[in-house]
Amino acid sequence: MNNRVLIYIEVNNGVVARVSKEIISHAKQNFLQSSIDGIVLGDEQSIDSALFDLKQLGLNKLYIIKDNLLDMTNAKVYANALSVFLENNQYDVLLMGATSDGRDIAPRLASKQDIGLTADCTGLEVDENGNLLATRPTYGGQLMATIVSKTKPNFATVRPGAFKYLQQSCNNETEIEYFSLSFDGLCSLLEVLYSENKPAAEDWTCSEIIVAGGLGIQNKENFNLIYKLADLLGAKPAASRAAVEQGWAEQSIQVGQTGNSVSPKLYIAFGISGAMQHMTGITNADKIVAININKDAPIMSGADIAIECDAVSLLHTLIGKLSD
């Protein structure tokens, strides 16, 4: 059986979005007997500057829809263009990153095609019949639901950071095919007056080691020790929502349901209680080390290594040791 998988590759300002690479890595590792194609949309400038990278993604085949009407991502225009493509090409599985744009485009595409969509997944498998089993957190991470769809393609969006990106050297260049369609009657009626990109979160979500701090760090001054330790270890700092709310850290480094999903090799949590909304963001971490003064804190049973200790004095000791 050959399962046909299509991945929507997001390109922003000529750069391939990290989540697209994460999805490709996951699909290649876990979907056996599948051929994995990609599709990318954009204007000439964006596509041309991303082209070299696009060819290195290790896809079976890459379709490109290039049109200067596609300069700004407009959910209506993108969804309708993708819909035309799907009417001409059959797939069993369709995957897209749950970025801000992906979350706008995917439901419109599903609606246009009258197919099911499972949004914001953190787990994806294909069963023996080629059906996609898409798992996502609900009720703020208190419950996980595995969802199947009876329409094809089985469609899911994937949380950025939920899967690991495994850089692979690929020798054969991807075959590229341009797909053209008529954009008659299909243009954006929105006028973007001003646009400002936020710093990409990916330079830290992809990090191997993450040092995170929570309310147990007690104050802003102590929280600087988290940054310092992260720096000494070549790790990235992160924070719980409570720490962000205290103003100790930027929201961009918040981990959890309303922050980032991360999948580092090692996640060291200092003074974080382990609320479900926080834990949802780290389910795919290889190893979790928790430091807490309360041995009954929820994180202590959710971690691989639970250490009962005062976080602040441990931070001081570690920094002292590493600065020598």
Binding site: N12, P107, L193, I305
Partner: protein, 266 residues
């Protein structure tokens, strides 16, 4: 001409207070239902529009069982002018696609001359954020999601501020279009007049035939997605405990963990 605003809301279980049965289903007994917090934001935004565009009319709509009338009455007390409940046994089991279909059928049939649709960014029970975009597609209109504020609004267009994890934009749109509002911490405390208005308000109840719904597109039949299994996130980690150890030893242990993780790389 009246400026017609439709606000779509959802009644959700109070997620701050969920208790689980041993079968991983929600213990419904004694569980309060509330208006989805994001949808209260949507109602407030509609009121702001009404303030800016005086001849406006706000219709609030929800799909759900009869008990959702409570949510609609509350919405009227909060300042909506009219309230509509889409309720029919045949709707039950609808997923986001079928729900978006029903809502859009209602709008096509009863408010084809709408100017603006306002939704909450997402519902706190499902968090899927699909219904607004799915609806916008069925109505073939533009959408602006993740709206945090309105910079300017008049009869001809509005300028919205869209703020996402990835970017911030100011977008100008002419009507009709759909907007999803992402503030969830707004509360509206109705005054006594609001309550009186709500009490006297007749809620319009519509069924599948009223909204001219194709019965193949609603309820379980019209819902492609099905939950295969639901489970509480299990802890499958080994959970080694370290207690009563000196800070020095713990520091050595952590440095060692870091080094192990590094060498595994090579």
């Amino acid at each position: 001409m009246t400026f017609k605003i439709v606000v779509c809301i959802k009644q959700v279980p109070d997620t701050n207070d969920i208790k689980w049965t041993e079968h991983n289903t929600i213990q419904r007994e004694g569980l309060d239902s509330v208006i989805n917090p994001y949808d209260i934001g949507a109602i407030q935004l509609a009121k702001n529009f009404k303030y800016l565009i005086p001849d406006s009319e706000i219709t609030v709509v929800t799909m759900g069982p009869n008990q959702a009338i409570d949510a609609l009455k509350t919405a009227v007390a909060m300042g909506c002018d009219d309230a509509v409940l889409l309720s029919d046994k045949r709707f039950s089991g609808s997923d986001t696609l079928a729900t978006a279909y029903c809502l859009s059928q209602y709008i096509k049939t009863f408010v084809p001359d709408f100017d603006l649709i306002i939704c909450g960014q997402q519902a706190v029970d499902g968090d899927t954020a699909q219904t607004p975009s799915s609806m916008a597609q069925k109505l073939n209109i533009e959408q602006i999601t993740n709206v945090i504020a309105i910079k300017e609004a008049n009869n001809d267009f509005s300028v919205c501020i869209k703020d996402t994890n990835d970017y911030k934009q100011e977008i100008k749109a002419s009507y009709p279009f759909l907007m999803a509002f992402s503030q969830r911490d707004i509360d509206i405390i109705p005054d006594i007049n609001g309550y009186i208005k709500a009490q006297n308000k007749t809620i319009t109840v519509l069924n599948a035939d009223d909204i001219k719904a194709d019965t193949d597109s609603i309820g379980i039949k019209g819902s492609p997605t099905q939950v295969r299994k639901a489970f509480r996130p299990l802890n499958n980690r080994e959970s080694i405990r370290i207690e009563n150890e000196s800070v020095q030893n713990i520091a050595d242990f952590i440095v060692n963990e870091v080094n192990k993780c590094r060498t595994a790389d090579e």
